[in-house]
């Protein structure tokens, strides 16, 4: 039978520092386990495609440039990814990794969310091929990002 039972608490809050984090101005590190943006290491990949089979959201595609020399380009759709870590778990060669650094991925269009990982020359080759008339449109002239 009290009225205003939170009185003590709110009074204390008035003189206490607010619990608010000053986020966009002060950026606190995320925990190391954080599942942020996916990174791919083309050097370790063997092209087994296990990650692609297990991806629940169709977020990754592996484009084989040259199977024998193990040259692969991974097209990663950030806008589809659910950051579930399954691909990382499935990969037996540790070539995938979810970053704990890059999790601020907001942007004003969806174009930058299509990311290419691979060796520079392979990506260039692919993009040039895609830019040619009559090529598969879905590859799109997207700005490439290097791993």
């Amino acid at each position: 039978m009290t009225i205003g039972s939170m009185f003590g608490n709110i009074l204390r809050s008035l003189f206490k520092k607010p619990a608010t984090e000053n986020y966009p101005f002060v950026r606190k590190d995320a925990p190391a386990a954080l599942r942020g943006k996916l990174f791919y290491d083309p050097e370790k990949c063997t092209g087994c495609q296990l990650c692609i089979k297990d991806c629940p959201a169709d977020a990754i595609e592996l484009i084989v440039v040259d199977k024998v020399n193990k040259r692969f380009v991974m097209r990663y759709h950030m806008d589809r990814c659910t950051f579930c870590d399954q691909c990382v778990q499935s990969c037996r060669f540790n070539c995938l990794n979810l970053s704990d650094e890059q999790w601020e991925m907001a942007s004003l269009s969806r174009t930058p969310m299509e990311v290419y990982y691979g060796r520079d020359e392979d990506i260039k080759f692919l993009l040039e091929k895609a830019a040619q008339p009559g090529a598969d449109d879905s590859c799109g002239p997207a700005p490439a990002e290097q791993a």
């Binding site: 986020y23 629940p56 589809r80 999790w103």
Partner: protein, 154 residues
Amino acid sequence: METKLPSTWEKALDSIRTWARVNSPWVIHFNSGSCNGCDIEILATLTPRYDLERFGVKLQGSPRHADVLICTGPVTRNARDRLVRIYNQMPDPKFVVVVGSCGLSGGVFHGSYNVMGGVDEVIPVDAYVPGCPPRPEAIIHGVVALLDSLKKKP
């Protein structure tokens, strides 16, 4: 604004308008089929830890009062009409922020019979925040990105 004002006046008015718009984004939140993971994170951005009111963000109930529509989740068949209706009810100028991977592209729900795909297939979208769900910080980052882009626009 049909009457022609001297250009300096118009410029000044414009900058005041932009200033006010950037500093007072009232948001309305619509869930078009999300798992509500994003929804609770959006709500979390309003609570003491993140407190979006610092930027003047206020959660509004009525679409008539809102400037920014925060939409989460893939668009389901049932929710599509509502989404369009809410968008139409908002007075101009209005902006749409999509939060969460499924709102961007359909995410894990891609290919499902009752899902129409991402929000941008139904209404125009101004900012995308991927993540499943994005951290509240990432949502703030998205909102700030949207507001920054408004500053540049005339």
